[in-house]
Symmetry: C2
Subunit: 383 residues, 2 copies
Amino acid sequence: MDDVAIVGVGQSAFTRKSGVSIRELCFDAFKEAMTGLDLTNKDIDASITCSAPEYDKQRTPSGLISEYLELTPSPAFYIESVCSSSTTGLRVAYSLIKSGLHRVVAVIGFQKMSELSSRDSAERMGRGADIMWEAPFGISMPSGYAMFAQAHMAQFGTTVEQLARVRVKNASYGAKNPKATYRKEVTLEEVLTSAPVATPLKMFDACANADGASCIIVASADVAKKVSKIPIWIAGLGAATDTMSMSGRKSLTSLSCAKDAAAQAYKMAGVKPQDIDVAEVHDCFTISEILAYEDLGFAKPGEGARLVDEKQTYVDGKIPVNVDGGLLSKGHPVGATGGSQMRTIVRQLRGEATEAQVKNAEIGLVHNIGGVGQYGNVVILRR
Amino acid sequence: MDDVAIVGVGQSAFTRKSGVSIRELCFDAFKEAMTGLDLTNKDIDASITCSAPEYDKQRTPSGLISEYLELTPSPAFYIESVCSSSTTGLRVAYSLIKSGLHRVVAVIGFQKMSELSSRDSAERMGRGADIMWEAPFGISMPSGYAMFAQAHMAQFGTTVEQLARVRVKNASYGAKNPKATYRKEVTLEEVLTSAPVATPLKMFDACANADGASCIIVASADVAKKVSKIPIWIAGLGAATDTMSMSGRKSLTSLSCAKDAAAQAYKMAGVKPQDIDVAEVHDCFTISEILAYEDLGFAKPGEGARLVDEKQTYVDGKIPVNVDGGLLSKGHPVGATGGSQMRTIVRQLRGEATEAQVKNAEIGLVHNIGGVGQYGNVVILRR
């Protein structure tokens, strides 16, 4: 399956208020992704811009980014599946290359959220739910994930302390990540006493809006072997969608889109959960990481929280997860997040993650979720 | 090149004010596309929703449409390149299938523009240009295309009467199209005396905002041969992007994105302009159709207007163009337009276009442009 590889990865700093335009954010990510590659802008024969719409005033940004990065006249277009936009971009990049239409594709994820007030931002977020039947009744990211947390606590006895331990772990790694918004360790006490957001989730159980960009350069095998010292192969891809409506869900203690996507990706890659050396999962809230452990098969249903209790998801544990700080530390510039996760895994598989390197990592996994469990993408990468 | 085919096409009525939600519009298009196919919803293993953002209040509509059409849990995501969104969707559908990731993909284009006032709609449209450096100075669709018209008139002597003849032709076919917004012939006099929009373009030189949806069902060869009596093969695909900024353009009398895309599509299909039996081109304004004749090689640079003078683009002419009425008659529900164009060509190649059938049409072409000449897609279909 050595058909398509990631050859370059980049990320801007993720911050609460970048003070720069989206084109400048994307430039930072693109520049890092191209560094050290034997490629010029002219070699990039398509670009996919990924972001969630309506967080900044620019509509239809793909042409803007394409011109600014000097990628014109190669085709540029825009893809989104909210928070999982850039892993959806990777899926499309893979298929554009595998189909023979293109050889080198840039997947550029970004979001600038600081132009909006918190109120406006929450309003936009709400309109990501069904605006006719659910958003008016309060379904949004925090309330939706709070329902998952309540259900998990009721069904399996998961505790708020266990949720908080996810943040403590991720903050311990975020402290070492120079591109994270929050580069500070936090204590269990600090998480538990932070302001309530949507019970049982508190401020420190939630990731923050951020400005930022990421860039992944994807190439066909022949190009990859030529331009990159350590191409990272796309071994498995999975994607699934669950109902937009929360009322349509069959379970509130598992994201079926993630389970379906994981099953596809494991099958395509020919690996099992226990073969994964390092993973990035979509910890938009602390509960999300617990759900991910279970949906990905790292733990049995209901037993996810134990993994973090036992420190099995720390860098020297059985299955290190979010050892770059996760969304909880890095911040969550929606469209850029999946790309940032892929960057972390690529750096781990190349052995370049000096901040928190997992020893001999050969196979890595990215789990990226859009909306309140609507869109699930799982990517398995192999050195 | 018989790898991927269009097996089903559908379109809702295009109207100025549908009075229904986007999900209902998409349902109408999907239902027509699935009619007569030996396929169920369960066979559709991915869906791509295509629309320009911010014309209706629903953000991230792909999950909503997926649930309403009962396509969950197959992956659903959203693609846009403004007015060329659904032909970009076709390009991605082709590659998802050719790559082996999927076998049957629904490309669903829609737009509901009637929820906005004209003023709000114009504001949204403006934000499709660079909001920092060009939109504030008045670049929008009408002003941009007016510049092209002025340049073409100055350089080649094209006249307002010639522009008007494009509308007269398209209206004569729109009158026969039961799904068009405007089903009425118009006279040269009516076009020339209609209200000014952006000199030299008048009201009747411009297409209108509309509500509507389209759906294209794309399948791998093995599926296509099984489920469809007359699969229509995707023979050629081309896509290119020109600078977002008007100031970056090398020419104002040609759209280089269209020329680049056409060259790619002709090459992939192994055909020449004179091999095309019937074409749909992006006549968002009358001048756009003249530019398309030239960019596609149906006429030499500067000689496009003669084709319509000589009635060569009427149904019994050398190269029939927009014999469904074009955007000028149908209306332009942005994300749905490319799908509607492809529906027309598929019906022509199947010999089902009873309103205005081109005799023995074997090879058809779709030319779909996004923005003010930013995004060019050309699709060549073959019976």
